[in-house]
């Protein structure tokens, strides 16, 4: 009996979710860095009341309430914020908590999280649709910026590179196939030398030497945590690489480089410039969201 009452309560919650008009006017919680950036790019940043710990751009989000790491969401904390809409990256979890949120009638809209310019466009359109807005303008602008780089980068000689997520756990944790880092390296005129496995794995010293990357790419905060370029290059498995001899360690903001949000095209250009310092690349227009 009581249980049935609870079910009706959740069904009433579901009707709230479908009230798009209310969502369009209401308060947002965004989970996922690219999702947050996209909401700002669509001009709706002021409606965000809370973000997850991977949302760090634009910098004013640091003043908002923090819902924690996106893989360890809190159902009641999110409900307690009483948002009119939660925009949640598909990366988020655990799945049990998402299922609790849906059962409680929380207004949740999932946003796909993949790499590549088509995925960027899909992401922007998904967020816009959930907000009852037209997302084509932003999506098309990012796509146009990205496409302007296609021909110049294709003409460059690819640099062999390895992306290191962190060196904190002993062996460097490097990006293999099917990672955002792999996709961005490729887009920026590099060749990921680690393609024998998918995901992020520790790299053995022998394999590092055999792969002989010419450049090492890292997120700038991971580079700082590791103690800077000199410290990274002194790691035995990396010291023998051509990258170490040329002292080529590239650091770039992680959310910028790997988020595949509205800043993806600019990130592609910046990474390509760092990988190919002598190449001439076209400038990109300054956008409202970069």
């Amino acid at each position: 009996m009581i249980r049935r009452r609870m079910l009706t309560a959740s069904l009433m919650g579901l009707t709230v979710q479908s009230e798009r008009a209310r969502a369009a006017a209401g308060r947002l919680v965004t989970i996922g860095g690219a999702v947050t950036e996209t909401v700002f790019a669509l001009g709706q940043g002021d409606r965000i009341i809370a973000v997850d710990s991977t949302s760090r751009f634009p910098t004013k989000v640091s003043a908002l309430a923090q819902v924690g790491y996106l893989r360890a969401l809190a159902p009641e904390g999110l409900m307690g914020l009483a948002p009119d809409l939660m925009l949640v990256s598909e990366e988020a979890g655990p799945p049990q908590v998402l299922s609790v949120l849906r059962a409680a009638g929380a207004p949740v809209a999932m946003v796909p999280d993949e790499a590549g310019i088509e995925a960027v466009s899909r992401k922007i359109r998904a967020v816009a649709q959930a907000l009852n807005l037209e997302g084509a303008a932003v999506a098309d602008a990012v796509t146009a910026d990205w496409r302007r780089l296609d021909a110049p980068i294709a003409s460059l000689q690819p640099v062999s590179a390895v992306f290191i997520l962190s060196v904190a756990r002993g062996a460097p944790l490097v990006a293999g196939r099917d990672t955002h880092a792999d996709a961005m390296l490729l887009a920026a005129g590099a060749r990921n030398t680690v393609r024998s496995f998918a995901g992020y794995r520790p790299l053995s010293a022998e394999l590092a030497a055999a792969l002989a990357p010419e450049a090492i790419v890292m997120m700038d905060h991971a580079l700082a945590e590791a103690g800077g370029a000199a410290a990274v290059l002194s790691i035995p498995s990396l010291a023998v690489t051509p990258a170490a001899r040329a002292r080529r360690v590239i650091g770039l903001d992680g959310a910028y480089m790997l988020g595949f949000g509205p800043r993806a095209a600019h990130a592609r250009r910046d990474l390509a410039r760092l990988l190919h310092p002598n190449a001439v690349l076209p400038g990109l227009p300054s956008r409202g969201w970069t």
């Binding site: 923090q66 790491y69 360890a72 307690g80 655990p94 299922s99 962190s166 992020y200």
Partner: protein, 357 residues
């Protein structure tokens, strides 16, 4: 006053009202767990929800309150109570069975086995079903963890047998071996895991009740509640075991049957709890001690007492876990240790020398 005389005895149980005290504490904890939390619900909202449960229509402005209490908090509080009770009762049973105050359910391999299977589910099955897996994905991890926990315990019980009997020391060593092996395979799986999976594993090992759903509760009631009740029925033979295995046999206890049922029931209740919450340390180890320090050694008191106190502790720890870092959430295993360890130390100092038998 002579401290000897202050030790509660088996006969004094009537004078210390454990049952009303424990039930009252648990009731208060459950009430607090339902009423409090990061989603503020005013008195009017609460009254509206209660009236709704009793049949009144729900005012639309309280739809969210009803969802928070009915869909999020209620199953979560009940899950916490049942899992806490299971951990407390299983811990008290293991300490009695192994005649060791440092024993806890982890000794029989159930936690490491559940962790191994959960990590395997995260690492191996995660990619196969994707991040937003369907119904099967939601049940895959609990089912794997339950089977893993129970399986590891059965392996340990089998390895611990010498001839027809399973001497406690051999059982302990078999548990150590099973834990080491499960830990090694878990390490191998973590090596194979990518960075995100490693983070998922880390959070799983710290425990969380955030995934509680009504549909879990019948399973939990059957696999945690029932075994915990049955464990309480082992109180008398466990009391005899205070004197040692030989003496317990002389007193008419079928010692091997007692060991089998105690280990099996504890393993079922812990494995099923862990399956839905991840690893929650501390409750199984320290809650029985707290009960013993206050109420004495009689297992007729310690078993139900540890179940009630474990339930209340986990409900309150979960309330703290979802409130303290709001709108984010702390791992509940962190809270149980943070609340429990200092309290335990304080109690230990209050009671003097503690456990010297």
């Amino acid at each position: 006053m002579n401290r000897m005389a202050a030790v509660p005895t088996l006969q004094e149980r009537v004078t210390l009202p454990l049952l009303p005290l424990g039930v009252g504490l648990l009731g208060a904890a459950i009430l607090a767990g339902l009423l409090l939390g990061p989603a503020r619900i005013g008195a009017d909202g609460l009254l509206a929800v209660l009236a709704h449960w009793l049949g009144a229509p729900l005012p639309p402005e309280h739809a969210r309150d009803a969802a928070v209490i009915g869909v999020i908090r209620a199953p979560r509080v009940l899950l916490a109570a049942l899992v806490g009770a299971g951990l407390g009762a299983a811990g008290a049973t293991m300490q009695g069975l192994f005649r060791n105050p440092l024993a806890d359910p982890a000794l029989i391999g159930v936690s490491s086995g559940a962790a191994l299977a959960a990590v395997a589910a995260i690492v191996l099955a995660g990619p196969a079903f994707g991040a937003s897996a369907g119904l099967f994905g939601l049940w895959l991890l609990p089912i794997a963890a339950f089977i893993g926990g129970l399986g590891a315990t059965l392996v340990m019980a089998r390895l611990g047998r010498v001839g027809g009997a399973a001497p406690v020391a051999t059982l302990l060593l078999a548990g150590v071996a099973v834990n080491a092996l499960a830990g090694a395979i878990t390490g191998l799986l973590i090596f194979m895991a990518d960075d995100r999976q490693v983070r998922d594993i880390t959070f799983w090992t710290l425990g969380s009740l955030a995934g509680a759903r009504w549909q879990h509760l019948p399973v939990i009631l059957l696999l945690v509640g029932l075994p915990s009740l049955l464990l309480c029925a082992l109180a008398r033979p466990l009391n005899a075991l205070l004197l040692g295995e030989s003496e317990a046999y002389h007193l008419g206890v079928s010692v091997e049957a007692l060991k089998r049922s105690a280990i099996l029931l504890a393993a079922i209740s812990v494995a099923a709890g862990v399956a839905f919450t991840g690893l929650i340390g501390f409750v199984g180890l320290v809650v029985p001690h707290v009960v013993r320090l206050v109420f004495g050694t009689d297992h007729r008191i310690v078993l139900p007492g540890a179940a009630l106190l474990g339930a209340a502790l986990l409900v309150l720890a979960d309330l703290a876990a979802r409130s303290l870092a709001s709108p984010a959430e702390l791992p509940v295993g962190v809270i149980t240790a943070l609340i429990g360890a200092p309290f335990f130390l304080w109690l230990l100092r209050q009671s003097g020398s503690g456990n010297g038998a």
